[in-house]
């Protein structure tokens, strides 16, 4: 198989993308159905060719074709096959190809699942997606061809995949993350299409919503996987570093969450349309900004790909064209006439507006914190480092405020909620939350302000969510009936909010009650961390597939009983000679015990890092809940509509229908 087939496939995909950007769009503006009809086949074709390119590159990795420069730089014959597979996206060119594959995939998905949309809308959405594809395909074909050859000097073996990346995390984290990043392109395309054809209404919001929700769910998963991976891989027990690349993934997530909630208001009440469109554009722009930051070398990060000014400039150009064109379109075409609607001070609309204020403020905070050093450098005002201490201090109050707002907002009603009624309704949840929080704090042994606020906000959200579920599921036919009657969309919301509470309480508890010790140990020593004892049994050498390691054995004891045996390692990789610390963790739902080998102090003695991390797994468990909530919510609409369509089909084959009441999306 010649790698050149991959290159040709990409060029063909580019041609199809160009056609996709132009033909259906022209058709939609000129009212030509035959041109609009090209949108679906062009989308399929584009996906097929990108898929071929991806398959060719994967094949090159799996057969160790080191005549391809990218394979030679990122792989090695000693690499296990599953890492050869994930090495496809281990570097810039390949991960870009993965990005484009996802983009083509989402385009195809829109083409398939858009039967219910008016043709004009479908054509324009697909054309906009086509334009985004053109940009990225140009980028990869011109500056970042993964199929460049090393001929005539084919190396005997590859340079090996960075040991940090030789891990399960690489197999799952980038694909999930990119599904999310790229998925927001769909919401973006819907927004642009709405600005082009001027049809910005509740129906538009209803179509955009599931696409936004599922992209958000993937992004939540992707970010959580990244955090989990960094935690066990990097050897120091941290789960979030406020690194510029991490922030780059958080920005579209925060903005995307605001977008999801804003779409709900626009769909239900037809208001805030202009704002929602802006959010859709901003969210995808932030995805693009993230892609740029990672690949341009403009900011220092543990995650960045190798910096290349030419690529950085091209990508910035791509980013600039997309963002400026869409924001200009927004500025000229967004409606200024507002829907006249009344809403009370405690209405659901207002609560969701406040939710947006907090989320957008958080987005602005993270963006400013990340880019500020660049701005100062540009103005030649010197260097500045902005990291964890800053972000933790400024982000936490916003998170707590969002939690408090959520709990109260759950009970709010559309259009008007009586303030007094709401206040009285919140009294019991307030009391219960305070008691539970106090119990948790006592259980973990100590009061600090942040621990109290964080735990309280989480408990508050949980209590309010269940209280509301209890209220809504009351029915004359019994509780079970009432529960079954709630829509999947509602349960999606419940799961999503519970997920947030779980993540928040995990973050709060592990940050405030975690214990960390750096101790000097020789084999035979026993150290304590929290209630646990860790005994250093022995340390020896071990040979791995492509490394040699110092292999330690540690017993973890609780009240004298052994609960786990841990084997942290210090590995030296054969190719590249890099040294890596592999921590070992005794994982549990209520706590992790984390042991890592540090430096060698003397022949016998080692610096050992021990950590007790309560509830750390809840961080990621919460994200699972959030993602599950997202997936559940989109299962709602489709089911209903298909069912109604089936019922209609059935009814029409039997008896002429006598008007049945149609419910267009009930409750939440």
């Amino acid at each position: 198989m010649y790698p050149e087939f991959g290159q040709i496939a990409l060029i063909l995909a580019l041609l199809l993308a160009v056609l996709l950007s132009v033909v259906p769009l022209v058709g939609s503006l000129a009212g030509r159905d035959n041109l609009m009809a090209f949108s679906r086949p062009l989308s399929s074709g584009m996906f097929v060719f990108v898929g071929i390119a991806f398959a060719v590159l994967t094949h090159a990795f799996l057969v160790d074709d080191f005549s391809v420069a990218y394979v030679a730089n990122n792989s090695n014959s000693l690499l296990p096959w599953y890492y050869k597979f994930s090495a496809v996206w281990g570097g810039h060119e390949g991960s870009l190809l993965l990005w484009i594959l996802m983009l083509a995939g989402w385009t195809l998905a829109v083409a398939i699942f858009s039967r219910r949309l008016p043709d004009v809308m479908t054509a324009q959405v697909l054309s906009v997606l086509g334009m985004v594809c053109v940009g990225f395909l140009l980028f990869i074909v011109i500056t970042s061809n993964p199929f460049d050859r090393t001929l005539p000097n084919v190396p005997a073996d590859g340079a090996d995949l960075n040991p940090l990346l030789q891990d399960f995390g690489l197999i799952v984290h980038p694909p999930m993350l990119y599904m999310g990043y790229v998925g927001f392109a769909v919401a973006f395309a819907f927004a642009i299409a709405a600005l082009i054809n001027g049809r910005l209404d509740a129906a538009w919001a209803r179509w955009s919503r599931p696409w936004t929700t599922v992209a958000w769910a993937f992004l939540s998963l992707g970010i959580a996987l990244g955090s989990w991976w960094a935690y066990y891989e990097l050897g120091w027990g941290g789960w979030w570093f406020w690194d510029p690349v991490e922030n780059a993934s958080l920005l579209p997530w925060l903005s995307g969450t605001a977008l999801m909630h804003s779409l709900a208001v626009t769909e239900k009440r037809g208001v805030f349309k202009s704002w929602t469109v802006l959010l859709a554009i901003v969210t995808f722009s932030l995805s693009l900004l993230g892609a740029f930051l990672v690949r341009s070398g403009v900011l220092t990060s543990v995650h960045s790909f190798a910096a290349d000014p030419e690529r950085g400039t091209f990508l910035l150009g791509l980013l600039a064209v997309t963002v400026i064109a869409s924001l200009a379109l927004y500025a000229f075409r967004a409606p200024v006439v507002h829907v006249r609607s009344r809403y009370g001070s405690f209405s659901r609309e207002v609560f969701l507006l406040l939710n947006n204020v907090l989320l957008v403020s958080a987005t602005i905070l993270v963006a400013v914190g990340t880019l500020y050093p660049l701005v100062l450098d540009y103005l030649e005002l010197g260097m500045l480092s902005i990291g964890e201490p800053f972000f933790n201090l400024t982000f936490s109050p916003l998170a707590v405020a969002a939690g408090l707002l959520l709990g109260a907002g759950i009970f709010s009603r559309w259009k008007k909620t009586d303030g007094g009624w709401l206040g009285r309704k919140l009294l019991w949840p307030l009391a219960i939350s305070t008691l539970v929080t106090a119990a948790v704090l006592v259980g973990y042994g100590g009061f600090t302000t942040w621990a109290f606020l964080g735990v309280f906000a989480s408990v508050w959200v949980t209590v309010a969510t269940f209280w509301d579920l209890w209220d809504k599921s009351s029915s004359r036919k019994g509780r079970l009936h009432g529960l079954k009657r709630q829509s999947r969309s509602y349960y999606g919301m419940v799961l999503g909010h519970l997920g947030l509470a779980i993540t928040m309480v995990g973050a709060t508890v592990v940050s405030n009650y975690g214990i960390e010790r750096d101790v000097r140990m020789v084999p035979g020593d026993v150290a304590s961390v929290g209630d646990y004892q860790v005994a250093f049994k022995s340390i020896g050498q071990r040979q791995g597939p492509n490394f040699t390691a110092q292999y330690g054995t540690f017993d973890v004891l609780l009240d004298g009983e052994r609960v786990a045996v841990l084997h942290p390692e210090k590995r030296q990789y054969t190719v590249g000679m890099s040294v890596m610390t592999e921590a070992d963790i005794d994982a549990g739902l209520s706590r992790d015990i984390f042991v890592a080998i540090g430096e060698r102090i003397t022949d016998e003695a080692w610096a050992i890092r021990l950590q007790y991390k309560p509830l750390v797994r809840w961080l990621w468990l919460g994200s699972l809940f959030m993602a599950a909530g997202g997936f559940l919510a989109i299962a709602d609409r489709r089911y209903r509509i298909r069912e109604r369509a089936d019922q209609k089909a059935e009814a029409s084959t039997n008896v002429p229908e006598s008007g049945s009441p149609t419910s267009a999306g009930a409750t939440s």
């Binding site: 202009s274 403009v298 900011l299 924001l327 200009a328 500025a331 880019l371 540009y378 260097m383």
Partner: protein, 178 residues
């Protein structure tokens, strides 16, 4: 007014774009020295070649010097060594060496094999002077004026391009100002 507000995001995006564009190509890992404009920190360390002789900051008085931080454990230092020899021999540049976190024997063997471009070499096995100078990785080269004040720090290898475009202008500037 309303329409103007809608243009605000666009304006912000353009400003951000300009800032980002300016950042491309700059290497964020190269830090400016905090010691520019300050005198070389006081130190008292042994001479690499003559362990009985102590060297101190007066070494930098009287003429402009380059202070080159190196170690035998640093592969890039080996790369730049030929260029340093060229600077010392062909260009007559006064280079003082700082042997940073190294082993005396290894360092002497190295200089013997590759040549010694340094007028004097300071032996700093524990890296104390390096630390005071804000050295965070080798190789690094400082430009120090005749009064013993640090004027510039270059992070990374010194080669002909670096000499001509970076170091020489600073030295001329320093000399020009007396």
């Amino acid at each position: 007014m309303k329409r103007f507000l809608l243009f605000l995001p666009l304006l912000i995006a353009i400003v951000v774009g300009i800032v980002l564009f300016a950042g491309i190509g700059k290497d964020p890992t190269k830090l400016e020295s905090a010691l520019v404009g300050k005198p070389v920190p006081a130190f008292s360390l042994r001479d690499l070649h003559n362990p009985d002789t102590m060297l101190d900051q007066s070494l930098f008085q009287g003429q402009v010097s380059l202070l080159n931080v190196w170690g035998t454990w640093c592969p890039a230092c080996k790369d730049e060594h030929d260029d340093l020899m060229w600077l010392a021999e062909e260009k007559g540049v006064n280079i003082i060496g700082l042997n940073y976190k190294d082993n005396r024997e290894d360092a002497l063997v190295w200089l013997d094999r590759l040549g010694d471009p340094y007028r004097k070499t300071i032996y700093d096995p524990r890296g104390t002077l390096g630390f005071d100078l804000g050295v965070y990785g080798a190789p690094e080269t400082f430009v120090i004026d005749a009064g013993g004040v640090v004027r510039y720090r270059h992070v990374g290898v010194v080669n002909e391009t670096v000499w001509e475009q970076t170091l020489l202008p600073v030295i001329n500037d320093v000399r020009g100002n007396g």
